[in-house]
């Protein structure tokens, strides 16, 4: 199956400095929720603007659903940087403008308002909306016409905890609305970790890693364990051929798949366990490891 988005060595430079986007090759599978991660200034927005045709690439190619991007951009809905709204108009009137430009039937407005749960506020002026409501209106606008690829740039920016939770639920729901692929750029790694199926890590304009999220997180299975005598426990585990490190909490971190196997070994050797858990590496930890490697 062709990818929803493929870029090949995409490069963009502003002025004479280092490239803002440096030979970035993305591969976003269809129906994925792709977390496009990186610190502020890493080049995420610039990359997305290149994909959307808002900026021209210095070199490299972009293909959408196997076609040249210039021809296939009609299948993209987007929310870039901040929600673009006309504050003096109501939410419904804002959507109506885009609906007219896309030549869509009027019922599309109710459909997208329902998806983002904004139907009740549709007739209120956008000037009175909270930031979370504006973000949802921006997403509703991006959803008009059932785009096959939805690009959301920092959709949780500036939201309060409730707004972030609502946005997370909305992002999880979106793929259920049809054959849609979602690219969500963010610097909030923990948020992306909760919704993404795939991730790409961008650092100083370069793509450091791109992978399925479960493969990235599952690739470093470990068991976190603590006993009354850590040095002795470490010796036992090391003697049994396990690699042992110290976790951030000070416990022993054992490179192993099965906590039961570790527990059985330690108990057999007379150790009393005070803590045993499967250690799930965080996306944040992986991100920082890759940044450190790149440096």
């Amino acid at each position: 199956m062709t990818a929803a988005l493929e870029t090949h060595r995409l490069t963009k430079r502003f002025g004479k400095g280092a490239p803002a986007v440096d030979a970035v090759s993305l591969n976003v599978p269809r129906r994925a929720i792709y977390g496009f991660l990186g610190a502020n200034g890493a080049g995420k927005t610039t990359t997305l603007k290149l994909v959307l045709g808002l900026l021209r690439a210095d070199s490299g190619t972009i293909r959408l659903f196997g076609e040249d991007a210039a021809k296939a951009r009609t299948s993209i809905g987007s929310l870039i940087e901040t929600p673009s709204t006309y504050d003096h108009l109501t939410g419904r009137q804002n959507l109506d403008l885009t609906r007219i430009l896309l030549g869509l039937p009027r019922r599309e407005i109710d459909r997208v308002l329902d998806i983002v749960d904004l139907r009740g506020a549709g007739d209120e002026r956008v000037g009175g909306y909270s930031l979370g409501m504006r973000q949802r209106l921006g997403i509703a606008r991006a959803l008009l016409g059932n785009p096959r690829l939805l690009i959301l740039d920092e959709p949780t920016n500036g939201l309060d905890p409730d707004g972030i939770r609502d946005m997370r639920h909305l992002l999880r729901r979106l793929p259920e609305t049809g054959d849609v692929t979602l690219i969500v750029s963010s610097h909030l790694l923990s948020e992306v970790e909760q919704v993404a199926t795939h991730v790409g890590l961008l650092h100083r304009g370069r793509l450091l890693v791109e992978s399925r999220l479960d493969a990235l997180l599952g690739g470093i299975a470990a068991v976190e364990v603590d006993t009354g005598d850590r040095p002795r426990a470490a010796m036992i585990l090391g003697g049994a051929g396990f690699s042992v490190r110290q976790s951030e909490a000070g416990n022993l971190l054992v490179d192993a798949e099965d906590p039961a196997e570790i527990a059985a070994l330690l108990v057999r050797e007379g150790q009393s366990l005070s803590h045993l858990a499967r250690h799930r590496p965080s996306l944040e930890g992986i991100y920082h490891r890759h940044i450190a490697q790149a440096a």
Partner: protein
């Protein structure tokens, strides 16, 4: 596709400051003229009354209204970075800017029509209420033609102003550009080549010399079309 962009541009004006300005600017001119006429301690000559409106209009209020209008229309898009949305939609980019230019020219024409109607209303009020009565018969046909030619001749300034406003995210640049143009026009009025100055083309319609009037609407119209074409070319190719 252009018609969709035109409809969208017109719908954007609902409850907007731009639309309010289009009523307020000619309204102020007509109101000012009427108040001054009411204050006169002699019967009001209606023919003179209806011709004072175009004077204030063409020298000061029209160029300033065009400045403010261009800023308000452009800020609707700059303010919330609406370009990021508009320019990613399918459809030819020049249509986005062409629709804006057409609506801007339409609003300038609408302001001229409103000024005509407000002056008509002012003359009717004076006829009814001025304590010393009125004299003279206003030539409304001549007034309509004059205001129409003024609207045509300010096409050049409208397009220059819109170009500057759309190309600059800051509202200060087009504001300074427009105010400077207006006041340079006032300051240089009467100079030998002043009739060629874009901000004075509309005022040229008040000249008794037909060649000055012709220069005004021809340069304004043709120059405006040329500037519009250049603006479309520039803005459509620009990165957002």
């Amino acid at each position: 596709m252009l018609h969709r962009y035109l409809i969208a541009e017109i719908l954007k004006l609902r409850r907007s400051l731009a639309l309010m300005l289009c009523v307020a600017a000619p309204g102020c001119v007509a109101l000012l003229g009427t108040i001054i006429a009411f204050d006169k301690k002699a019967p009001v000559n209606l023919a003179a009354f209806v011709m004072t409106g175009p004077g204030i209009w063409s020298f000061v209020m029209l160029p300033l209204a065009i400045t403010a209008l261009s800023v308000l229309m452009a800020q609707m898009e700059h303010g919330s970075r609406n370009w990021n949305h508009l320019l990613t939609l399918p459809g030819a980019r020049p249509h986005v800017f062409l629709a804006k230019a057409i609506v801007m020219l339409g609003l300038v024409a609408a302001m001229s029509v409103l000024l005509f109607l407000f002056l008509l209303g002012g003359a009717a009020l004076l006829s009814l209420l001025h304590p010393l009565g009125v004299t003279g018969h206003p030539d409304y046909a001549a007034l309509a033609i004059r205001l129409g030619l003024m609207a045509l001749s300010c096409t050049l300034v409208s397009m220059l102003q819109l170009w500057v406003a759309l190309a600059n995210r800051s509202f200060v640049v087009p504001l300074v550009f427009g105010i400077a143009g207006t006041f340079i026009g006032i300051g240089t009025f009467g100079a030998t080549k002043a009739a060629w100055f874009p901000w004075l083309l509309a005022a040229g319609m008040l000249s008794p010399r037909p060649e000055i009037q012709q220069l005004g609407w021809m340069l304004g119209g043709i120059g405006g079309a040329a500037v519009m074409a250049a603006m479309l070319l520039h803005l459509s190719r620009r990165e957002a």
